[in-house]
C-alpha cells in the first residue's frame, strides 16, 4: 500500500505542475481532473473513502462544467500544449522547486512514512471516521450548514446579476 500511496502522491504533484505551467486551457483542465483523481486515490489509501467520494462526485462534476466551458471558450484549432521553450522553462522551474522542497523538508523535518496512520489505524470501529464526522453537520454544525447554504444561494443571485446583460445589469455601470 505504501507504493500505491507514493504513486498517487507523486501523480498529484505531477498534475499540479501540469496545471500551473501555463498550458492551453484544454490541457490545464485535463491536468486538474487527473490531479483530482490522484487526490481521490490518496484519500482512499488513507481511509477517508467518503471524503474521496465527495471529491470525486461533486468536485469532478463541477469540473465537467468548467471543462465544457473552457473548451467552448477557447476556439484555437491548434491549442498550444506544454511544448515550446516557455513551457519547458516553467516545468524545469517547478521540478527544481519540488526538489528544493524535498531537500529542505528532509533536512528540517525528516520525510518518512507513507500514510502510516489511516482512518482505522486504532482498531475496528462501528462507524467509519469520515462517515461519522460528516454526520455532525446535522447536529453541532447546523448553523454553519445553513450559512453555507445561504452563501450558495447568494452566489446564485450574484452570478445571475453579473451575467444578466449589457443593458441593465452590473456590466452597464462599467
Amino acid at each position: 500500500m505504501m507504493y500505491f500511496m507514493f504513486l498517487f502522491g507523486f501523480c498529484f504533484v505531477f498534475w499540479m505542475v501540469g496545471v500551473s505551467c501555463n498550458p492551453s486551457p484544454y490541457y490545464g483542465i485535463l491536468s486538474l481532473v487527473l490531479g483530482a483523481a490522484s487526490g481521490c486515490g490518496v484519500l482512499v489509501g488513507m481511509g477517508g473513502s467518503f471524503m474521496s467520494l465527495v471529491l470525486f462526485l461533486i468536485y469532478l462534476g463541477g469540473m465537467l462544467v468548467v471543462f465544457a466551458y473552457s473548451s467552448a471558450l477557447v476556439v484555437d484549432p491548434y491549442p498550444a500544449g506544454w511544448g515550446g521553450l516557455g513551457g519547458l522553462v516553467y516545468v524545469v522551474g517547478f521540478v527544481l522547486l519540488v526538489l528544493g522542497l524535498v531537500v529542505m523538508g528532509s533536512f528540517l523535518c525528516g520525510v518518512e512514512g507513507f500514510g502510516e496512520v489511516t482512518a482505522d489505524g486504532v482498531g475496528l470501529c462501528v462507524v467509519r471516521l469520515d462517515f461519522g464526522g460528516v454526520s455532525w453537520f446535522y447536529y453541532y454544525g447546523s448553523v454553519m450548514f445553513l450559512i453555507s447554504g445561504w452563501g450558495l444561494l447568494l452566489t446564485l443571485f450574484v452570478v445571475l446579476e453579473m451575467v444578466r446583460g449589457l443593458s441593465c445589469g452590473t456590466l452597464h455601470s462599467i
Binding site: G9, M16, N22, Y59, V98, A119, G132, G133, F137, G151
Partner: protein, 98 residues
C-alpha cells in the same frame, strides 16, 4: 511530516506560484485557484484522519461549498470580462483599462 503532507504542501506552493506568475488566459488562473483549493481539501481531510478526530471532518465540506461559490463567481467574472473586453486574455485587461 510524512510524505503525504509533503505532497500537498508542494502542490499548494506550485499552484500559488503558477497563479502569481504570468498566465495567458484568465481561465488558467481560475484553474490554479481550483488546484489550490484541491490541495487544501486534501490537507483538511487528511489531518482529521491522522489525528483521529471525526468532528473536524466538517471543515473540508464547508471549504468545498465556499469554494463552489468562489468558482461560480470566477466563471461569471470570466463571462463578464469576455463580454466587455472581447477575449479572456489577461493581457487585454491591462491594455484596455477603462
Amino acid at each position: 511530516m510524512t510524505t503525504m503532507h509533503f505532497s500537498y504542501y508542494s502542490a499548494f506552493i506550485i499552484s500559488i506560484t503558477g497563479l502569481s506568475l504570468h498566465q495567458t488566459h484568465l481561465i488558467s488562473t481560475l484553474l490554479c485557484l481550483e488546484s489550490m483549493m484541491l490541495s487544501l481539501y486534501i490537507a483538511l481531510s487528511m489531518w482529521p484522519i491522522q489525528l483521529q478526530t471525526s468532528s473536524f471532518m466538517l471543515t473540508p465540506m464547508l471549504m468545498l461549498s465556499f469554494s463552489a461559490c468562489e468558482a461560480g463567481m470566477g466563471l461569471s467574472l470570466l463571462v463578464a470580462s469576455s463580454r466587455t473586453h472581447g477575449s479572456d486574455h489577461l493581457q487585454n485587461l491591462n491594455l484596455l483599462q477603462c
